[in-house]
C-alpha cells in the first residue's frame, strides 16, 4: 500500500536461505520464500506453529543478517494501547501545568498555548510499535505471541500492519520513515481475526524433517559428531510419531544433543537414550510410554 519505492533487501529466495544459514538459522524453502516475499510485497509475516520450532528466532536472525535493530513487543493478556503504541506522560504534563501556574503567579498563561505545549512530542512516551515506525535506522519489528492479546487489542495493530503508520489524535499521523520488516508469532491458542490474517503473509513452521533437523543440530551444537547428530534426529522423529502428550520440539532436540555432547558421547546407545529422555519429554507418562516403545517391551 505504501507508495515509497523501497530497495529490496533480497534478490531471490535462495539468497535469503543462504544468508539465514550464514547466521546459523537453517531455513527450508517455505521459510525462505515467505521472508523474501514479505520484503518484496512489504507485508508482515504471521508465523504460526508449535512452541520451540524457532519462530522467534527467525525474526532475530533476519534482524541479524540485515543488520537491523530488533524491536520486540511481547504480547500478553491485558496489553493495551498505552503499552503497545504510545502513552502521554501525564505525570510530566501535570507538573508542567503546575509549574506554569507557579511561574506566573496568577496563572495567566493562555490555555491554548499550554495545551499545545503539553501535547508535544516531548511528553510522548513511545512504546514498541510507535518506536518501530519512528525509527531512523533499519529495524525489524517482532510482535511475539500475538494470540495472547484480546481480540480488541489486535485491532490496534491493524493500522501499523497495513499502512505502516500510527494516528495520534493530538499530533496527527506518524508515517514510517522506512518500511520495517514485521514478524508476528502465534502459538495458535486462539483463532486470530480475519482482519489481521488478511494483512499478513502466513507461514507455518512445523517440525523439520530428519535431514534438516540433523543440520540444525550440527550447526547449533558445536563439537557434535556426525553420527550422533544423525541418531539424535532419527530418534526424535520416532518420538514424534508416537502418541505423546507433548512431542519434543526443536529446542528440546538441541538441548538433548547438548546434554549428550557434555556427557562425552560420540554415538548413543539404548541405555543412554532412556537415561536422558527426560530432557526431551516433559511428562512422566510420556517418558514411560516412549521407554516402552523404544526398547520394544511393548509391541
Amino acid at each position: 500500500m505504501s507508495s515509497k519505492p523501497a530497495t529490496p533487501r533480497f534478490d531471490s529466495p535462495q539468497q535469503v536461505a543462504d544468508e539465514l544459514a550464514a547466521v546459523d538459522y537453517l531455513s527450508d524453502h517455505a521459510i525462505a520464500s515467505t521472508v523474501f516475499l514479505s520484503d518484496r510485497l512489504q507485508k508482515p509475516v504471521l508465523v504460526e506453529g508449535p512452541a520451540g520450532t524457532g519462530k522467534t528466532q527467525l525474526a532475530k536472525s533476519v534482524a541479524e543478517l540485515t543488520g537491523a535493530r530488533l524491536i520486540r513487543l511481547q504480547c500478553y493478556e491485558g496489553l493495551d494501547e498505552s503499552k503497545a503504541l504510545y502513552e502521554w506522560n501525564y505525570r510530566k504534563q501535570l507538573l508542567r501545568i503546575q509549574a506554569s501556574q507557579v511561574g506566573t503567579g496568577e496563572g495567566s498563561l493562555d490555555w491554548n498555548e499550554l495545551e499545545e505545549d503539553i501535547f508535544d512530542e516531548s511528553f510522548l512516551l513511545t512504546r514498541p510499535l510507535l518506536e518501530a515506525i519512528r525509527a531512523e535506522d533499519p529495524v525489524v519489528l517482532l510482535i511475539d505471541e500475538v494470540d495472547r492479546v484480546e481480540l480488541e487489542t489486535e485491532a490496534l495493530m491493524l493500522e501499523i500492519l497495513s499502512e505502516y503508520q500510527v494516528s495520534i489524535p493530538e499530533l496527527g499521523t506518524v508515517k514510517a520513515k522506512q518500511i520495517p520488516m514485521v514478524f508476528l508469532t502465534s502459538n495458535n491458542t486462539r483463532e486470530l481475526s480475519e482482519a489481521l490474517k488478511r494483512r499478513c503473509l502466513f507461514l507455518h513452521v512445523g517440525y523439520p524433517d530428519v535431514e534438516r533437523e540433523r543440520l540444525i543440530v550440527e550447526t547449533r551444537v558445536p563439537g557434535i559428531s556426525q553420527e550422533l547428530a544423525e541418531q539424535v534426529a532419527q530418534i526424535v522423529r520416532t518420538l514424534r510419531s508416537m502418541d505423546l502428550k507433548k512431542v519434543p520440539s526443536v529446542s528440546e532436540t538441541i538441548d538433548w544433543a547438548q546434554t549428550l555432547v557434555v556427557l562425552g558421547k560420540d554415538s548413543i546407545s539404548e541405555e543412554d537414550t532412556i537415561a536422558t529422555l527426560h530432557v526431551l519429554l516433559k511428562y512422566q507418562s510420556d517418558i514411560e510410554r516412549a521407554t516402552a516403545e523404544l526398547t520394544g517391551t511393548r509391541r
Binding site: 531471490s12 529466495p13 524453502h29 517455505a30 520464500s33 515467505t34 523474501f36 516475499l37 518484496r40 510485497l41 507485508k43 509475516v45 504471521l46 504460526e48 506453529g49 493478556e77 501525564y90 505525570r91 501535570l94 484480546e150 495458535n188 491458542t189 486462539r190 483463532e191 480475519e194 490474517k197 488478511r198 499478513c200 503473509l201 502466513f202 507461514l203 507455518h204 530428519v210 541418531q231 532419527q234 530418534i235 522423529r237 520416532t238 510419531s241 546407545s269 539404548e270 537414550t273 507418562s285 516403545e293 523404544l294 526398547t295 520394544g296 517391551t297
Partner: protein, 479 residues
C-alpha cells in the same frame, strides 16, 4: 497466468477456504516477484498469500497438486523444477518418457519392464533412498498396475489402492528390515525401531510419488477443474461427525486437541474479563498518590463468578455413538472450566460413567472404556429415551440443582417408545439450563421416529451440531 490463478482461487473457495479479494490481489502481485518456473517456490508463494490457517493447508496442497501438476517427470525427481506453463488442459501431454512409460492413460501394455525388473528397481529405490529411481518406479508401477480407464469421473483412490496392493510394500519393509538385521550382526530394539521408521518414511515418499503420478494422469485425462471437483474433501471443521469415514474420524481426533485448548483459553479469558468487579478502594487510593491525590486510574477487584456444574447425558446407541464419544471427549478436555462434570450414557438403560474420567488424564482412553464397560442395555439395546430419562430421574434427579447445566446428546430417534418428556420439563424447572444437541440436520427433525419436537419445548435450546465448527460455536457460548 492470471486466468489460471483465478480458476485456482475459485476452486479453493469451492473447497471452503475463505480467500478474500485482498488475498487474491496479493497472490497476483506475489507471483510477479518470483520465478514461477520453480514449482516449490511458486507453491510457497501462493500458500503464503492465500492460506491463513494450518488446517487449510491440506486442502490447498491437494488443489495445488491438481492444478499445477508437473507435466512430465524429468530425471530429477518429483520436486525438481518443473515447468508450470500457464495453459492448463489445452496443451497435448508432452511426455518425455523414460524407458518407454505408458503413453497417457491405461496403456499398461507399453511397459517394457518385466515384473522382476520393477520389483528390483523398487527395492533399490527404497534401500538407497534414490529419488530418481523412485520417480521411475512410481511411473512404471502406475502404468502397469493401476489399470486406469480414460474418462471415468473418479478421484483416483481406487487406482492408488490397486497400485499399492500390487507393490506389496509391507512385505518389502519387513524384508529390508531383515536385511539390515543380518547385515549389522545384531540389532537392539532401538536400532530396529529406527531402521523401521527410516524405511517407512522412504516408502511413504514412494506412495506420495505414486499418488502424484496418478493425479498427473488424471489431470491429463480430464482437466484440472473436473478432477479438483472429484478429489475435493471437506475441511476438518466441516466433516459431518455422524457419517465420518475412518480417515475423517482420525482427522477429527487430531483436530480435537488444539480445538479444546483454544476453547479452554477462550472460556477462561471470558470468565476473567466478562465483568468488572467492584471498585478496589485501597488500590485506587494507593495509585492516586503518584498523581497528587487525583484518582485518575481506578482499580477494580477481580471478579470471581462461580463456575457452572455440568451434567452430560449422551445416547451412545450405534447411530450416534461417534458423535457422543466426540462431544464427551471435548467436554472433558475443557472440564477445568466447570466446577464439576458428570457424564451419563444410555441406550435403553442408563449408567453413570463419571468415574471413568476421574482418574485418567486422557479423555480418549476413558471414552473408549465407556464402550466396553458401561452398563447401558436394559431390554433389547435399541434407543429408548423415555425409559432412560425416567431412570435418570429416579436415581440422580435430586442431584440436579440451580447451578447445573444439563446437556443432552442424541438424535431423539426413540423407536416409537413413550417420550416421557415430563422428565425434561422437571429438569428444566430445577436446572440452570437444559440444552439438547442433535447431530442430525434440522430438516430431519420430527421425521420418522424422531421425537425431538416433544422434548424441544422443555429445553432452553435445541441445537443442530453436525460438525466441529457447530460444536465449537455451541461450547463457546455455553460457559
Amino acid at each position: 497466468m492470471l486466468d489460471v490463478l483465478n480458476t485456482f482461487i475459485v476452486e479453493l473457495r469451492q473447497a471452503g477456504l475463505p480467500v478474500s479479494l485482498t488475498e487474491h490481489v496479493d497472490a497476483a502481485a506475489a507471483i510477479t516477484h518470483v520465478d514461477i518456473a520453480d514449482r516449490a517456490v511458486f507453491k510457497d508463494v501462493l500458500r503464503a498469500t492465500l492460506v491463513k490457517s494450518e488446517d487449510h493447508t491440506a486442502a490447498f496442497d491437494l488443489a495445488f497438486e491438481v492444478f499445477f501438476a508437473p507435466r512430465s517427470l524429468g530425471g530429477e525427481g518429483d520436486e525438481a523444477s518443473e515447468d508450470v506453463s500457464g495453459e492448463l488442459g489445452d496443451t497435448p501431454p508432452d511426455q518425455t518418457g523414460l524407458r518407454g512409460p505408458g503413453k497417457g492413460m491405461g496403456a499398461g501394455g507399453g511397459s517394457t519392464m518385466s515384473a522382476e525388473e520393477l520389483a528390483k528397481m523398487l527395492e533399490d529405490a527404497i534401500r538407497n533412498d534414490d529419488a530418481t529411481l523412485r520417480a521411475q518406479v512410481a511411473q512404471q508401477s502406475v502404468a502397469r498396475f493401476a489399470g486406469m480407464e480414460p474418462g471415468r469421473p473418479v478421484g483416483g483412490t481406487y487406482y492408488l489402492y490397486r497400485t499399492l496392493r500390487n507393490l506389496e510394500l509391507d512385505q518389502l519393509l519387513e524384508q529390508l528390515v531383515e536385511e539390515r538385521r543380518s547385515l549389522g550382526g545384531s540389532m537392539t530394539p532401538l536400532q530396529e525401531r529406527l531402521a523401521r521408521d527410516e524405511l517407512g518414511a522412504r516408502i511413504d515418499g514412494l506412495k506420495q510419488a505414486i499418488e502424484a503420478e496418478i493425479r498427473r494422469r488424471l489431470v491429463e485425462d480430464r482437466g484440472a477443474e473436473a478432477l479438483a471437483r472429484s478429489v475435493r474433501k471437506p475441511l476438518p471443521e466441516d466433516i459431518d461427525v455422524m457419517h465420518a469415514t475412518r480417515d475423517e474420524m482420525a482427522t477429527l481426533q487430531r483436530a480435537l486437541r488444539p480445538l479444546s485448548r483454544k476453547l479452554a483459553v477462550r472460556l477462561a479469558r471470558k470468565r476473567r474479563h466478562g465483568r468488572k468487579g467492584p471498585l478496589d478502594f485501597r488500590q485506587t487510593v494507593r495509585r492516586s498518590l503518584s498523581t497528587g491525590g487525583v484518582p485518575i486510574d481506578p482499580r477494580y477487584r477481580h471478579p470471581r463468578p462461580a463456575k457452572p456444574e455440568m451434567i452430560v447425558i449422551a445416547d451412545i446407541s450405534g447411530s450416534v455413538a461417534s458423535f457422543a464419544r466426540f462431544t464427551l471427549h471435548l467436554v472433558y478436555a475443557i472440564s477445568s472450566q466447570f466446577s464439576k462434570v458428570r457424564a451419563f450414557v444410555f441406550v435403553d438403560g442408563i449408567d453413570e460413567v463419571t468415574h471413568f474420567f476421574d482418574h485418567s488424564d486422557d479423555p480418549g482412553a476413558a471414552v473408549s472404556r465407556i464402550n466396553t464397560e458401561a452398563n447401558v442395555v436394559w431390554i433389547d439395546g435399541h434407543s429408548d429415551y423415555g425409559h432412560a430419562f425416567r431412570s435418570f430421574h429416579e436415581r440422580w434427579g435430586k442431584d440436579v440443582n440451580a447451578r447445573t447445566s444439563v446437556l443432552i446428546l442424541g438424535d431423539a430417534r426413540n423407536n416409537y417408545h413413550a417420550s416421557e418428556s415430563w422428565v425434561i420439563a422437571d429438569l428444566q424447572a430445577r436446572a440452570r439450563h437444559v440444552y439438547w444437541l442433535n447431530p442430525e440436520p434440522s430438516s430431519y427433525w420430527g421425521s420418522g421416529d424422531s421425537i425431538v419436537g416433544e422434548y424441544a419445548p422443555h429445553c432452553d435450546r435445541v441445537v443442530e451440531v453436525r460438525t466441529l465448527r457447530q460444536l465449537e460455536q455451541f461450547v463457546g457460548e455455553l460457559a
